[in-house]
Amino acid sequence: MSEAVLRLEAVETYYGEIHALRGIGFEVREGQVVALLGANGAGKSTSLRTISGLVPARRGKVTFLGQDITRMPAHRIAQLGLVHVPEGRRIFKGMTIEENLDLGGFTVLDAEERRRRREAAYAMFPILAERRHRDSSLLSGGEQQMLAIARALMARPRLLLLDEPSMGLAPILVQEIMRTIRRLNDSGTTVLLVEQNARAALRLAHYGCVMETGRIVLADEAAALRANEALTKAYLGG
């Protein structure tokens, strides 16, 4: 068994008075892709925001690489190698593609190393290389998603959190993004993936957790979840 990169235990999160996570627990192991599935408002994005420290948990415990990160500020968590690509991509519009990538590599102090990683990102996403000095807001939705992933990879993350990478993209681009995630995973990146598109996510994932109103109601191997027709009907709208 490979070790757990990330572990959540009885995590509860509030937005003001709203009890958004009602005690969730799961693990992500080295080299896995774990998918968090569920309807809108089930708490998938909140789970990611809690893990990366944007909305700290009120109760429970989050452990990353054996270290308690429950109350650590978000930038410190990122420095440990847990990188979150948020919903809606959140690229720095008004700055060039190259500057976006450099900001992804903010924790890399050596400019030469940063340059090498940038070139590696361009090799992986040639479309970004062609436009490196252009304003990133001129990119299409799919390209912006590529940039958001490339920017996260600049930090060489031990764990990558992806929030709805396929949102708003044409089916052909969804496939391309999914292939990209598979490629990243094949080269050793551990991924925690939040997706509305459950079918696509389960084709990719090793393990899946289904969320409903702030709880995990079902967790199993991806293959088992795929085979469970009643479940796909009930939870995944399929």
């Binding site: 930038h75 959140r90 690229i91 720095f92 700055m95 500057e99 900001l103 903010f106 924790t107």
Partner: protein
């Protein structure tokens, strides 16, 4: 005086005045650019800087003299001290309000401004303090105009500081981080950027520039008082708006332009010296009405 001489003299005056405005406007614009706060206390940091520089020079003059040998270290020390004051103000007054409505922060900035003015008032009794130096009026004659070395150093210092700042913001890691914070703070956190520390750095740099400008103003005008930051704060704000607030080259341009406007404006028949402020603020109004983004500014959805 022949007209040509008057015009050249006003050009020199305008550039000098403008470089004060530009240095103060830079800090104003930088802080606004990063956290969208109009730091009304900024002009008062210029005033505190002048007093800090005066204090240092008083200590040093017995030993280094009151020429540049004493003035340069006074400027540097004042920049560090006021830079740190700026960081403390951010930590105590603004940081707790980071998520608060902008109006609350704006009112807090006014309070900080009053606090600084009244603290210095309490210590000085509101008297003008003579800022005496050994700098004479030696200089060179450029055609019809006599330009002193002091004036040249002043303009030179401003230009060097502005260029260094522009390079810092456009080329360095933390400069990039400052621009990114202006766009999306949470995304910055996810990149491992310590947002609070970067904002503190912004306040340090902006306040240090205001202090440098304050000491130079003391050296140039020969007297300082607790209220000297008020009007220049407003003028620097005007300069920042004219140039395009949040934009560093814009702040420089706005500052120099404003200095020149003021210098030449006083020469227009019917607009004497006592109308110069009216002249300047009329320009502010014109810009706010016809081009609120300023000369170099880009359109923005939300403004204060």
């Amino acid at each position: 005086m022949p007209l040509q001489e008057i015009l050249l003299q006003q050009l020199a005056n305008g550039l000098i005045l403008g470089s004060f405005y530009a240095l103060v406007a830079l800090g104003y614009s930088m802080v606004y650019g990063v956290i969208k706060l109009l730091n009304f206390a900024h002009g008062d940091l210029y005033m505190v800087g002048a007093f800090a520089g005066f204090g240092c020079l008083s200590l040093f003059s017995g030993w280094l003299g009151a020429g540049w040998a004493g003035i340069v270290p006074s400027i540097l020390l004042s920049m560090v001290a006021v830079g740190m004051l700026g960081v403390v103000i951010d930590r105590v007054a603004y940081r707790p309000l980071r998520e608060a409505p902008k109006l609350s922060v704006l009112i807090t900035a006014l309070a900080v401004s009053m606090l600084l003015e009244n603290t210095v008032l309490a210590f000085t009794g509101g008297q003008f303090t003579a800022f005496s130096t050994d700098l004479g009026f030696t200089g060179i004659d450029l055609g019809l105009v006599h330009v002193t070395y002091t004036q040249m150093v002043l303009v030179g210092t401003s230009i060097v500081l502005m260029v260094v700042l522009e390079l810092f913001v456009s080329r360095t890691r933390y400069g990039r981080a400052m621009r990114a914070i202006a766009i999306d703070q949470d995304a910055c956190r996810l990149m491992g950027i310590d947002v609070n520390r970067t904002i503190a750095l912004t306040f340090f740099i902006g306040s240090a520039l205001a202090a440098a400008s304050g000491v130079l103003a003391g050296v140039y005008y020969g007297s300082i008082n607790f209220f000297m930051g008020f009007l220049i704060g407003l003028k620097a704000f005007t300069a920042a708006v004219i140039g395009g607030i949040g934009n560093i080259p814009g702040a420089m341009l706005g500052g120099l332009l404003l200095g020149l406007l003021e210098a030449f404006g006083t020469q227009i028949p019917g607009i004497g010296g006592q109308w110069k402020d009216v002249f300047v603020f009329a320009f502010l109004i014109l810009f706010l009405v016809f081009r609120p983004t300023g000369i170099l500014g880009k359109p923005e959805v939300e403004r204060m």
